[in-house]
């Protein structure tokens, strides 16, 4: 009539748990002290660049609320460019403002890529046009014909634009002096991709 095995096992486990608890409790019985710190939250800056097109006067944020790229018209039917004759040029511009709320330095540059020139209404004007660009401080400087360089796939990259700074990219569209008279009245649509990139302005950073 011995003690049932299960009862003995239970007693052993209980004893082991009790001993274990006592051992652990012994450690806690020594002195201990605590301090706590709340470092707070780190927040990322916004990356907003506002664009103003001339002569249209349209403005937009480079990135729309949904995250997609914005499209900015430099000319409209109400604000067309001047008529273009062989050997002459017309100008327009985009002003880009760095509106980031970054805590430290945050400079950007704007790159204008290769233009896509599309004939409107089946003409052949596009092949006689040259699209050039230059980086200046104010739109007024666009009418000065010096300093323009033809836009290629390498694009034109502006100088650094610091926080709250503005830069202007001028565009020049020139009609070849060899353009035939058959081009009269034709029109083209020109699309130029703009990209804003952060420059590493962090001292000894951006490794």
């Amino acid at each position: 009539m011995g003690i049932p095995r299960s009862l003995r096992a239970a007693a052993l486990i209980a004893a082991a748990v009790l001993l274990g608890l006592l051992t652990v409790q012994g450690t806690y019985a020594l002195w201990a002290a605590n301090a706590s710190a709340t470092p707070g939250s780190v927040s990322a800056a916004s990356f907003n660049v506002s664009l103003t097109g001339m002569p249209s006067g349209q403005t937009t944020n480079m990135t729309l609320a949904g995250g997609q790229a914005a499209s900015l018209a430099l000319t409209t039917s109400g604000t067309p460019l001047a008529a273009l004759g062989p050997g002459s040029a017309v100008h327009s511009s985009v002003s880009a403002t760095n509106n980031s709320d970054a805590g430290g330095q945050f400079s950007i540059s704007i790159t204008a890529g290769a233009p896509t020139v599309t004939n409107v209404g089946g003409g052949s004007l596009a092949q006689y046009l040259t699209v050039s660009a230059k980086n200046v401080a104010t739109p007024a400087e666009c009418s000065t014909t010096t300093g323009y360089a033809q836009l290629t796939s390498a694009g034109l990259t502006t100088a650094a634009v610091p926080k709250a700074g503005t830069t202007v990219v001028c565009f020049e569209v020139k009609l070849s002096s060899t353009a035939p008279s058959t081009l009269k009245g034709q029109a083209v649509s020109i699309s130029i991709p703009l990209t804003a990139s952060q420059l590493c302005g962090v001292p000894s950073g951006c490794a």
Partner: protein, 176 residues
């Protein structure tokens, strides 16, 4: 005869009492006394307290106000908290540890590197256990990697929650 026995008994008692009195006479002889002063037992001390508020600095070491500062890719911020550790006691030894709790990462994990709290004494990583009072510096770094692309993580937030510093005495030889 009966009286004789009574007398003898009384006499025996009287002799016994006299002997007892004689013994009492010994107490009146030499005696000596002395005093000892064991002194005072003084308890040691164990404590850890923040020495002022923690500060954030940027990569160049310039202080920043974290509640208004906005990080951009390439930024690396360091949080520094100085702790005063008091340890007094001949057999005192204690381990100091730090642990962050309640952090909430609103950034893309691959775009940030956040370190666990690192404890240092005079620029050298703490070697537990400590046995004497020290000034311990705890640091945490947050780096927004410059490899971040597109507009990833604009206006994201990383909440560090709480960092708990614990100083626990440990057993030494001679303690039980």
């Amino acid at each position: 005869m009966k009286n004789s026995a009574l007398i003898k008994g009384t006499a025996a008692i009287a002799v016994g009492a006299a002997l007892l009195l004689g013994g009492g006479g010994t107490l009146a002889s030499w005696n000596a006394a002395d005093n000892a002063a064991p002194g005072t037992v003084v308890a040691g001390d164990l404590n850890v307290v923040k020495s002022g508020a923690g500060v954030w600095t940027d990569r160049a070491g310039n202080p920043v106000t974290i509640s208004t500062y906005k990080v951009v890719p390439g930024d690396k911020l360091t949080y520094t908290q100085v702790l005063d550790v008091t340890l007094t006691g001949n057999k005192m030894a204690a381990n100091i540890t730090a642990a962050g709790t309640g952090a909430a990462n609103g950034f893309t994990a691959a775009n940030v590197v956040v370190t666990d709290p690192v404890l240092k004494v005079a620029g050298v990583t703490v070697t537990n256990p400590l046995t004497t009072s020290k000034t311990v510096t705890a640091t945490i770094t947050f780096e927004f990697l410059s490899t971040t692309t597109g507009r990833a993580d604009v206006t994201a937030t990383y909440n560090f929650g709480n960092v708990a510093f614990t100083l626990e005495q440990i057993m030494q030889d001679g303690l039980a």
